[in-house]
């Protein structure tokens, strides 16, 4: 996000500088939006843990539901640059104190007007430990939020963070009514109103005629269900029972492509499965060993064979191409078994036998481990792949052995990603990698006013992780949605599948 000091946040936010915007499909432009119609959408997950409480949203189905019913202060409507939504102005001079003015005339589904008190309540509740908010650690940087007028509030952070508008665009931070605590029903300002909610079964929403974006949304009704089984989900789409599905396995793309009634949309995302080499354990802490493993991964093969091309080759650092802070100058690390062998020999680690823990919990890790095992064998490193069940993987294996796999969902900002997974003292610093220089840069970048310097800092952080970090990131995995071609306006938004989980307000049904 651009943030020159001479530019107010408002201008910056509403400007058309969408760095990560993906091209809009021609199909979306071909016809004018049509009002009416009912669609059924099947998402990957649905269980009794389904929730109407934005703080508890854990899975894509929850995010979709929350974006149907609620709106945020900001939103990602195309690229990775947040735009103003419920906020009419979002300004700061020092990135610590932010003043927000709310859009006028916005109504909750029960008819009550949106006020600053609702926003303050919605933001501060995440800090309550007993709530169990998924974003408590992020919300903790909000030291204070107070009402400064009926439509105005001020937020004070614990330190400068230029990414606040992006953070507040995620589904967890959507705005609920002041004092709301019973989430058997939902009262939001979103494009749809709740008609029925049955956890693990279905959510039915109908159009909110008083939505604050004039003319939107288009559909009369959406039924959101979950079909956890991928084959069943694809079958439901192909048989015409549902109009839209997410989380398609690349293996199913051929079946869908064979149907002229259906289309596939690829969202290139920052999702990755990484191999974690614990830096505090032997032999994975040896820098030669780390570099050898990084050269041992055949990224092209993983891209083609595992993901059928629906992935992007990565370079051992977590910022994906297309991200505003992506540093293109970093040379791509290649598959080089000879160099890996040389490095292992240098470290005296050839002919070693090492267990690797892989699990279906970390998408693709079992197959990656098998490919790696084969290639390691050829240079004299014997890897024993331990395939462990998803159940309990994150608490019992992840980061607990010298060699494990992790899986990281895209985060809205580079700062969040680095703070959560790479900062020396982060709880999920997967490899236990310590770098003072990295930590300094991370803190400095949060408060850096000069955009070019900030970009430079992020570039240096990417170089540090690429060169010295203890994780191997072979590819970024694309998320795949498939849809009925009668559904129009469906495109890709880089923050996640299903148009960044917010497809509901953009799509319409033809014929």
């Amino acid at each position: 996000m651009s943030s020159r000091p001479d530019l107010t946040r408002r201008e910056a936010l509403s400007g058309l500088s969408a760095a990560g915007a993906l091209p809009v499909l021609p199909a979306a432009l071909a016809t004018a939006p049509r009002r009416g119609g009912r669609i059924r959408v099947a998402s990957i997950s649905s269980s009794s843990a389904d929730t109407l409480d934005p703080a508890k949203g854990a899975l894509s189905t929850d995010y979709v539901r929350h974006f149907m019913l609620y709106s945020g202060l900001t939103q990602f409507s195309d690229g990775l640059t947040p735009r103003l939504a419920l906020a009419e102005a979002f300004e700061t001079s020092d990135r610590v104190r932010w003043s927000i003015r709310l859009r006028k005339g916005v109504e909750f589904h029960d008819g009550s007007p949106l006020t600053a008190a609702d926003v303050v309540y919605s933001l501060l509740r995440h800090k309550t430990p007993a709530l169990g908010s998924k974003v408590k650690t992020i919300a903790d940087q909000i030291l204070e939020a107070r009402v400064t007028g009926p439509q105005a509030l001020e937020i004070r952070l614990s330190g400068p963070n230029a990414d606040l508008p992006a953070i507040l665009a995620t589904s967890h931070f959507v705005i609920i009514k002041d004092g709301a605590h019973d989430f058997r029903t939902a009262n939001g300002t979103g494009p749809y109103r709740l008609r029925a909610f049955n956890p693990g079964v279905r959510t039915i929403v109908s159009r909110n005629p008083n939505y604050w974006k004039p003319g939107r949304p288009y559909l009369d009704e959406i039924e959101l269900i979950g079909i956890p089984d991928e084959v069943s989900r694809v079958n439901a789409l192909l048989s015409g029972d549902v109009h839209l599905v997410n989380a398609i396995n690349p293996r199913s793309t051929r079946r869908i492509a064979a149907s002229h009634r259906h289309g596939i949309i690829e969202t290139r995302s920052g999702l990755y499965t990484d191999m974690i080499l614990r830096q505090d354990r032997a032999p994975t802490g040896d820098p030669n060993f780390v570099l050898a493993m990084k050269h041992l991964f055949d990224r092209e093969l993983i891209c083609k064979a595992l993901y059928r091309g629906y992935a992007t080759v990565a370079n051992d650092q977590p910022i994906p191409p297309g991200h505003p802070y992506y540093f293109p100058g970093l040379p791509q690390r290649t598959h080089d078994p000879d160099r890996a062998r040389f490095l292992l020999k240098k470290a005296g680690l050839l002919n070693l036998r090492l267990p690797v823990y892989a699990s279906p919990a970390a998408d693709g890790s079992v197959d990656m481990a098998s490919i790696l095992q084969e290639q390691a064998g050829q240079i004299g490193l014997r890897l024993a792949v331990n395939r462990v069940p998803s159940d309990g993987y994150w608490s019992n294996h992840w980061m607990k052995h010298p060699l494990t796999f992790g899986n990281t969902n895209p985060r809205p900002t580079a700062d969040l990603l680095f703070s959560l997974f790479y900062k020396s003292d982060a709880a999920w610093n997967e490899s236990g990698w310590k770098s003072d220089r990295f930590d300094q840069l991370l803190l400095a970048a949060r408060g850096e006013a000069d955009e070019a310097r900030r970009k430079q800092m992020y570039a240096e952080m990417q170089i540090l992780v690429h060169d010295k970090g203890g994780v191997v990131i072979p590819v970024f995995i694309s998320s795949l949605d498939a849809f009925d071609r009668r559904l129009k306006g469906f495109r890709s938004i880089a923050t996640g599948g299903l148009m960044g989980y917010a497809f509901a307000e953009y799509v319409w049904l033809e014929g």
Partner: protein
């Protein structure tokens, strides 16, 4: 001992079994790695967050105390609150159990007469071409795994022909046609295996009876084969047949997990799977207890049928 006493004795035994089962269910479910607090927070579980949630969910109490607490509330008919959704377990189960019962009941209603007819027909003409043909058919039906039958059914009838929906979608106000379409594939898949099982066991039980001296006597007296089978052998085979039916039906309730998954059917089996993955103990335990109770009830009914149909058992 009178029949009534005998039945009461069985009832007592069932109650005792249920109590033991409750202990086993509680013990085994607490052996699962992780708890509701760490599963709810998933990859994002920090020690403080887990501790806060654990305290809130009452997971800090020692296990025996939690067991007694749970058992006590179970007796008063309240299985507690679901940890993952914060809804009463009763509400969750009430929305799912009728659906599972309906699916099981409908399958039983269709499968039982067909299975009995096939079993009787095969037994009547033992070793004939019909019997061999039926044997081959039922054996292959038993051998075909459910997921294969269901997947092939979906590919053919839903994706290719588009006659039936691939998942069970029941509108809020369903018409008879809606229901017929929605249930056709799941019921057919479940009935496929159940019919075969029941038919084979009916045949075996009947043939067993037909080898008894009394059946031979009846044949020697010149009674027709259908009369020997239907009037003499069948009533005596009622016990084993009832048992076979009871076993198949209990399978329909709890064993329908695969069918519920493939057809996305919102039944109680998938609810229990959800409960296991989210470590939602109150829900998991309640589901397990329902399955055990249903199983015991069905076996009890089968026993009673056997007792009533066989005077010798009443003397035992």
């Amino acid at each position: 001992m009178t029949t009534l006493q005998l039945i009461l004795k069985r009832l007592g035994a069932a109650a005792l079994t249920l109590l033991l089962v409750s202990m086993i269910v509680f013990t085994i479910s607490s052996l699962l790695p992780g708890d509701a607090a760490s599963e709810t927070l998933g990859q994002s579980a920090t020690p403080e967050a887990v501790a806060a949630l654990r305290a809130q969910l009452g997971l800090n109490e020692p296990a025996p105390a939690r067991y007694l607490h749970w058992l006590g509330s179970l007796f008063t008919g309240d299985p507690g609150r679901s940890m993952s959704s914060d809804l009463p377990v009763r509400t969750l189960i009430a929305s799912r159990l009728p659906k599972s019962l309906f699916l099981a009941g409908l399958t039983a209603l269709i499968a039982t007469p067909i299975a009995l007819a096939l079993g009787v027909a095969a037994a009547m003409r033992k070793d004939s071409t019909l019997d061999r043909g039926l044997s081959l058919l039922t054996l292959s039906m038993v051998a075909a795994p459910e997921f294969l039958v269901a997947t092939l059914g979906v590919l053919l009838f839903a994706v290719k022909l588009r006659w039936l929906p691939s998942i069970t979608l029941i509108p809020e106000h369903p018409s008879a046609l809606d229901l017929l379409r929605a249930y056709a594939l799941p019921v057919a898949t479940l009935a496929f295996g159940v019919i075969a099982q029941m038919a084979r066991m009916t045949r075996a039980a009947l043939i067993d009876q037909l080898q008894q001296p009394y059946a031979e006597m009846a044949t020697l007296k010149g009674l027709s084969r259908p009369r020997v089978v239907l009037v003499h052998a069948l009533p005596n085979a009622a016990g084993p047949v009832a048992n076979a039916i009871a076993l198949s039906l209990s399978y329909l309730l709890g064993g329908a997990i695969i069918v519920e998954t493939i057809f996305n059917y919102p039944g109680i089996a998938s609810l229990m799977v959800d409960a296991v993955t989210s470590r939602d103990m109150p829900l998991l335990q309640a589901c397990a207890m329902i399955f055990c109770a249903a199983y015991l009830a069905l076996v009890l009914i089968a026993d009673v049928c056997a007792i009533l149909s066989n005077p010798r058992l009443r003397q035992a």
